[in-house]
């Protein structure tokens, strides 16, 4: 029974840590827009928490480059499992318009495993919320597969 409750909690309370790999701030303000009264993601139990050790979902925006890839990996490693990663925006997905630059690694998935990709430059808040819902769907499928 405790396991059922824990699984229910996992689906109902995804705490997010938001990491900006040097984005233009476009994606970031769309993330913050999700927290405002218009979208109010807290009604789904989603909290933007500042601490990777408390978080369940890592939301990455911006271009991963050779300097900040270590930071990204470090933040990912500090999160206790089970955890999910969402890459956001054109830069987070592939490097965007900066993908040819000499210092750019490419997408977030070159450094850490990504569960959900949210497209757009920047994506709309609706798309971000949809991304979190998809990540939760993956978590749910994994939980059901594990029994």
């Amino acid at each position: 029974m405790l396991k059922d409750w824990i699984n229910k909690g996992r689906l109902k309370s995804p705490w997010i840590v938001h990491f900006d790999c040097g984005s233009c701030n476009g994606c970031d303000i769309e993330v913050l827009a999700c927290l405002t009264p218009i979208y109010d993601v807290e009604r789904f139990g989603i909290i933007n928490i500042g601490d990777p050790k408390h978080a369940d979902v890592l939301l990455v925006t911006g271009t991963v480059n050779h300097r900040n890839k270590h930071v990204l990996k470090n933040i990912y490693d500090q999160m206790p499992s089970p955890k999910a990663v969402i890459a956001m925006g054109a830069c987070g997905l592939s490097g965007g318009v900066f993908r040819e630059a000499y210092n750019v690694v490419g997408g977030v998935d070159k450094v850490i495993p990504v569960d959900v990709y949210v497209r757009g430059c920047p994506p709309k808040p609706e798309a971000i919320i949809d991304g979190v819902v998809h990540a939760l769907g993956k978590v749910k499928a994994a939980l059901e597969a594990a029994g």
């Binding site: 909690g9 109010d40 807290e42 789904f44 139990g45 909290i47 500042g50 050790k53 408390h54 499992s81």
Partner: protein, 282 residues
């Protein structure tokens, strides 16, 4: 034997009540900010999720400190419903708070270090006030025992109105409401990242949350002492007090620890002295 049973039931029910209060707290806060807010049961979802996460601690010392914090919070609730001595509860509560800080200090994270220092200053701020509240209760009723406060005929609020305000200060600090949430603010992402809670994660964080629910029940119990004569009087007092805390939480921004120390000690001590003088003269 009846008292022992009551105290045991209280220890079992306290986290349920504390969790519901936390859920209502978040719902009311959302309402004040014209949001929908999470479901009332959200704190329970959070805690169960945290219990299911893989443990990740800095050192074994952290596990011990979290358990001591939880057990001491449970013990304060147990002693309260046993009708025991207020001073004893105060010492047990302090031991829990000190261990909580020690767990944060045992790590090397600068965020946890700063948060722990601030938590110590916070304790330094509210503890003399709580002691003064207990002393004034003892001056009125002639005893430090909770059971004798409950048998005292009149509501204490008539004789100790200013002390209730002082307890309100201590309540705001103990519940980590702004403007006094300097050690573990929910919203200080850029500054100290939840301070004293930074290095606790997963099951440890869940236990801390449960211990905090026990603290909420204990502190509300202390408020209940001020109108112990009638059930409805007591209920109204608790609801009004907690709602006032919520409003204060939502309309104030966080201040510095120096401001907190000066204001709370200044007003708290002044109000206490006034009330005690009034008692002494009357």
């Amino acid at each position: 034997m009846g008292k022992l049973l009551l105290a045991t039931i209280a220890v079992i029910l306290a986290p349920v009540i504390g969790g519901l209060v936390a859920g209502l707290d978040r719902k009311c806060t959302a309402w004040l900010q014209s949001r929908v807010g999470p479901p009332i049961l959200q704190p329970f979802y959070d805690v169960f999720k945290l219990l299911g996460k893989s443990p990740m601690m800095m050192n074994p010392w952290q596990i011990l400190t979290v358990w001591v914090y939880l057990v001491s919070s449970m013990l304060t609730v147990f002693l309260f419903f046993l009708g025991s001595d207020l001073l004893l509860m105060f010492f047990v509560l302090t031991i829990g708070a000190v261990f909580f800080v020690m767990g944060a200090l045992s790590t090397q994270s600068p965020y946890a270090q700063v948060g722990a220092q601030r938590e110590l200053v916070t304790m330094l701020t509210y503890e003399p006030l709580i002691i003064l509240v207990f002393v004034s209760i003892a001056m009125v009723t002639g005893s430090f025992k909770v059971s004798e406060v409950f048998t005292y005929g009149k509501p204490l609020l008539y004789q100790l109105p200013l002390m209730f305000v002082v307890l309100g200060y201590a309540l705001t600090i103990k519940l980590r409401k702004s403007p006094f949430d300097i050690s573990a603010c929910h919203h200080a992402h850029q500054e100290i990242v939840r301070g004293v809670l930074t290095e606790y994660s997963g099951p440890q964080l869940a236990l801390i949350e449960i211990a905090h629910w026990y603290d909420v029940v204990f502190v509300l119990g202390l408020c209940a002492l001020f109108w112990a004569t009638s059930f409805w009087g007591c209920a109204i007092l608790l609801v009004v007090t907690y709602f006032a805390e919520l409003v204060i939480d939502n309309v104030t921004a966080r201040m510095t620890y120096k401001w907190m120390l000066k204001t709370v000690w200044g007003w708290g001590l002044a109000l206490s002295v006034l009330n005690l003088l009034w008692l002494y003269a009357g």
